[in-house]
């Protein structure tokens, strides 16, 4: 029996797919099992009240998936996260686009942007709290402060790095400014804008959890405090795991969008 070139390629690709699955699924699974074993060894050697082994955490995790209070706590925090992130995007993307295009405004804004990037935003939380009290508004403002610089900077970068050739070509064909925006600048910067959304969301999430755990506990913070005060270690770890899973899913979705718009 002989194979055609096409067939042998398919065979080769099939073997490749198996290798791919091993690398992408099996290897991380092995790491997870090793980590769980080490964790269990640590928990059992400590015999601490505050710790739960991997099996207990997993059982608590499954239980929490069907617990309305857990989802309510998550959603309560997610409202602030979504509003704050939405505001950061609505404000940050236009700012990034404009400063990327208009050098004078860029010069005006650049120093403050640099400061925002290097300043730990957490230090501003007490000020926000004093100004707005223990409120959802304060939570939202904190999320915006965490996310905004990371939305603005990549968006600006996306516009600044638009190829000079495209701009020349557009000018040569008589593109007006708004046509340039619609047909060249925004499509050309789209990949960077989505990257900004991804980074911004990651920082918004950090902001939301930081503010919940340290100052204004109305959602996940409240539940974590309850689990801590009742020494429900397995539930606490499971809830942290659930928050991580939610973040991973959200970031994964944004990565998918980014892959779609890749130049």
């Amino acid at each position: 029996m002989s194979y055609s070139v096409g067939q042998s390629r398919r065979v080769a690709r099939g073997g490749g797919r198996v290798g791919h699955v091993v690398v992408r699924v099996a290897a991380p699974s092995i790491v997870l099992v090793v980590v769980c074993l080490l964790w269990n060894w640590y928990v059992h050697s400590k015999k601490s009240f505050y710790l739960a082994d991997a099996g207990a955490i997993f059982r608590a995790f499954i239980k929490e998936l069907g617990d309305g209070a857990v989802w309510h706590a998550l959603w309560t925090s997610d409202i602030s996260l979504l509003i704050g992130f939405g505001i950061a995007v609505a404000v940050g993307v236009p700012i990034g686009l404009v400063i990327g295009r208009v050098q004078r405004i860029d010069r005006l804004v650049a120093p403050y942007l640099q400061i925002a990037l290097v300043t730990p935003i957490a230090v501003l939380m007490p000020i926000v709290l004093v100004a707005l009290g223990l409120s959802r508004t304060a939570q939202v403002v904190v999320v915006v402060l965490f996310a905004l610089p990371f939305v603005v900077v990549p968006t600006r970068g996306g516009v600044v790095t638009i190829s000079r050739d495209w701009l020349d070509m557009s000018a040569a064909y008589g593109a007006r400014e708004f046509q340039l925006w619609r047909m060249v600048l925004i499509p050309g910067a789209l990949h960077a804008i989505v990257n900004g959304l991804r980074l911004g969301f990651a920082h918004a999430l950090t902001g939301e959890i930081t503010v919940e755990l340290s100052l204004i506990a109305i959602g996940i913070g409240q539940l974590i405090i309850r689990y801590q005060s009742h020494y429900q270690a397995a539930a606490l770890f499971a809830f942290v795991l659930l928050i991580s899973v939610q973040s991973i899913v959200a970031m994964g979705l944004l990565s998918l969008v980014q892959r779609k718009v890749r130049r």
């Binding site: 070509m169 064909y173 047909m183 499509p187």
Partner: protein, 279 residues
Amino acid sequence: MNPTAKPAAGARLGARGHIDVDGVTKRFVAARGRGSQDVVALRDTSFQVRRGEFVSVVGPSGCGKTTLLRMIAGLSPIETGRILIDDRPITGPGPDRAVVFQHPSLLPWATVVDNIAFGLRLRRVPKSTRVTRAHELAALVGLTGFENHLPGQLSGGMQQRVGLARALAVDPQILLLDEPFGALDEITRRQMQDELLRIWSGTGVTSLLITHSVDEAILLSDRILVMSGRPGRVIEEISVGMSRPRERGMETTQEFVELRHRIWELLSAPVGVATNADE
């Protein structure tokens, strides 16, 4: 027919052509505080291109050829002298001119058809009309079957064909070609030259080609403008008297060889470097 040559440096214009370049000087001012001097890219450059004529500009690197083309395209301001299109001074890019760049500058997220129709979309041509026109142009430049491909899926030569089609799609009166085949391999380059000859003979659009290739200039042009080294100016206009349609094989004719020799002699003159100290 023997090629005729005449000096052109500093010549002032008489009867108007389609493109009139009149005493153009271009100086690039050095950034302040960097210790460098201003650069005079072009000095007192004058020539005409008649309607329907194919003119090439050859010259050493840095002689201001591309600067000249950018000024005619309206992409670079004219500070000294003037450039007229149909007796009207250039104030910026216009619908009468289209540029084919050395790098095709295609939008990577747009299909071949959308790239070809780019100029038409800017001019608010209805979608159905511009798509039909783009398909026609794709066929004209030999890209049938690739209409829905993205630039990244095309070879360099095919990308340059898209660039050419994009320029022709807007039905320009003047085609400005800035070393369009400079980045292509020799085989593709020759194919593209043949394509350009075929397309140009069908449209008769006034064309100005910037090129480093003497053979390309002779093959394609009615007239060749030879520029000096920096600061560039037209030191000689050479009429290419060879009959059209031009065909492969003419490179070995005595006429072609003589022209090539003459142009290389002119180009072999020492290259000067001009700064403000020369003024």
